[in-house]
Symmetry: C2
Subunit: 374 residues, 2 copies
């Protein structure tokens, strides 16, 4: 089914809503844990539900390479393959191809790249991308985009954006050739150039999308540049459709973007940082590998109610990390995902109560102070 | 408290019983999953309880090296450190030192070895060993033994066994110097020489132990040699105390040893094999890495009721393994531990119903046939 969005409450640009899919509803603003290969690293689906994840993101390009769309499709799609019964969003692979750099070749047709898995040449056109995402049967699919590098001149960013718009139209046409398994989101590009962003949005809006994403951010730009783009762009995005800021970010980035009207986020930071021992706390980040935690009988965060903080000491978690124990990655991931998903709950509650602005100001100041103290 | 053993039922040499500790009862025959560093690899304690594990084994030598006994003791012992509230058995480190080979030096005082972690010299006397296990506060501790190599001449095996017996007496004296946290088991040595085994047992029985172990097996001997030792030794071991066969083994080894009167087992096979993709099934073992499973939509074992078999296909598990996903290790470990713990339940039920002999004959024949078919 086509995802359906309803606004629930708004405070300034910030808003709460509900995005309903065939696999249930996503309360927004929402954070999507990343399950690159059809698994949010170290987690079971039941644990994600317990943590309050409404939706996960999977990476089309990775799943195209391993295990390939045919095997996922034989399971009835990603939901059956990975035993996750809530909504799934698949990205288009545009950003992943962009990350391959020297291994890729971009033409009007699409992209060709060497598989990092086996070195074979892989082609991904907008049509291929839709076929793969159709096989994955995600609730939300993304149009193939050409992710503009940072920095880029105005003419480079324009050419890239215009290519993305032609690919978006091809994606849209191909995705809807047969009754689609879910809904397709378009992606606004245009680099750090507000006029190009608005032109991209205007082009996209000639077609019907159940949601729109802001792509080409979180690619190396400063926080100020990112927020300037959001401030120039988001007020012009349709208020009745969800807005997804791809690949963002740290907790403070999320809070700031919600304040500019963003509804959906994804990022590998909580899960990847967890496996590297970087843990988020109410008073800043800690690295569990630090010798300071060697004999610390206290939890990661006394203010945290997650499974890891309820039952395990910093000393135990540091020990697990030193011994490369899988349970260490598990507990750290539970903690960081809880931190992010709890933040999203707090954000939604604050907006509904009309006190998001005050919350955001306090939160951003506290994060800044904590970062300064580290 | 001192562990208390009661016999529940017997059929020939096989018996069921209940070993009660301060942290609850262990239904025997029991398999103890191995939690080397204070974590059964990839598992939470809650998952182990769900799988039906009554007891886990932790490795004294590993915990001595990392994180060190003081840190575990500061958590009130291993139970608090690792958040496991059921019984814990700690080994003595004798077998681990034995495995270090060239890095170790054995004298009458005890052993000295280079730490594989940081190269420092570590001393482990029977008294040190008791102090470490006391700090770990296990329900069952093991006397320090000198593990006889295989093969060994009669005089080598005798000298090694006699040293183990002197160390056992020193362990016993030191462990009971203060009120102990649990009970201390003695370990019978004597290599492949039945007369030495009986002499070792006779020496041990001059002291009071709440349980006895058979050490120095699973070191490279044949199945026939191992069973011959058990048949010569076990009938002379006190019937009112639990008998623990250390480091054994494959499912068929466990069934055969239960038939000779063994009550307790530990082995890394189910957990280590799981992480290497070797999975046990009712019809033999499979390696999930095999290309044959690439598109297999069926579970590991249609006869299995574990979480992995209820929700995931072989194709998905193979994909997780290829991508080095932590969830793959988790699901494989759940499956293999379920296989072992379900086997122990089946064994206990069969003995209680007086049909263990028939069960064992059928099981061993089926395992042999499955191995031949692979």
């Amino acid at each position: 089914m086509r995802p359906r969005f309803e606004l629930v409450a708004a405070e300034g640009a910030a808003r709460t809503g509900r995005l309903t899919t065939a696999h249930g509803a996503i309360e927004t603003p929402a954070f999507m844990p990343v399950g690159t290969y059809g698994t949010v690293k170290a987690m079971t689906p039941e644990e994600l539900v317990e943590l309050g994840a409404d939706v996960v993101l999977c990476n089309t390009l990775h799943l195209l390479l391993r295990p390939g769309p045919a095997i996922v499709e034989a399971h009835g799609g990603l939901h059956g393959f990975m035993h996750w019964q809530r909504p799934i969003l698949t990205d288009s692979g545009g950003f992943q191809v962009f990350s391959l750099k020297s291994l890729r070749k971009i033409t009007e047709e699409g992209v060709r790249f060497r598989s990092p898995v086996d070195g074979s040449e892989v082609r991904l056109t907008p049509e291929d991308c839709m076929d793969v995402q159709r096989a994955l049967r995600a609730d939300i699919a993304m149009a193939l985009d050409d992710c503009t590098p940072y920095p880029a001149t105005e003419s480079e960013a324009r050419a890239s954006m215009e290519r993305s718009m032609r690919w978006a139209a091809r994606s849209h046409a191909h995705y809807h050739r047969e009754p689609p398994p879910g809904g397709l989101f378009g992606i606004v590009q245009g680099g750090m150039h507000p006029a190009l962003r608005l032109a991209s949005l205007e082009t996209l809006l000639k077609l019907d999308w159940p949601g729109l994403a802001v792509g080409g951010l979180a690619v190396g730009e400063s926080d100020d540049e990112r927020l300037a783009i959001l401030e120039a762009l988001v007020p012009h995005m349709p208020a009745d459709r969800p807005r997804y800021l791809m690949g963002v970010g740290f907790p403070e980035d999320i809070v700031a973007a919600v304040g500019r009207g963003i509804d959906l986020f994804d990022c590998v930071i909580p899960t990847r940082h967890a496996r590297n021992g970087h843990l988020f706390t109410a008073t800043g980040e800690i690295n569990i590998r630090n010798a300071a935690h060697q004999s610390d009988l206290g939890p990661i965060d006394p203010a945290c109610a997650c499974y890891a903080c309820r039952h395990y000491s910093r000393a135990y978690l540091r020990h697990l990390d030193r011994c490369n124990e899988i349970l260490g990655s598990r507990l750290n991931t539970i903690h960081n995902l809880h931190f992010y998903l709890e933040l999203m709950r707090t954000i939604r509650t604050a907006i509904a109560a009309g006190r998001f602005e005050a919350f955001a100001a306090g939160y951003l100041a506290a994060r800044k102070a904590a970062a300064g103290a580290t």
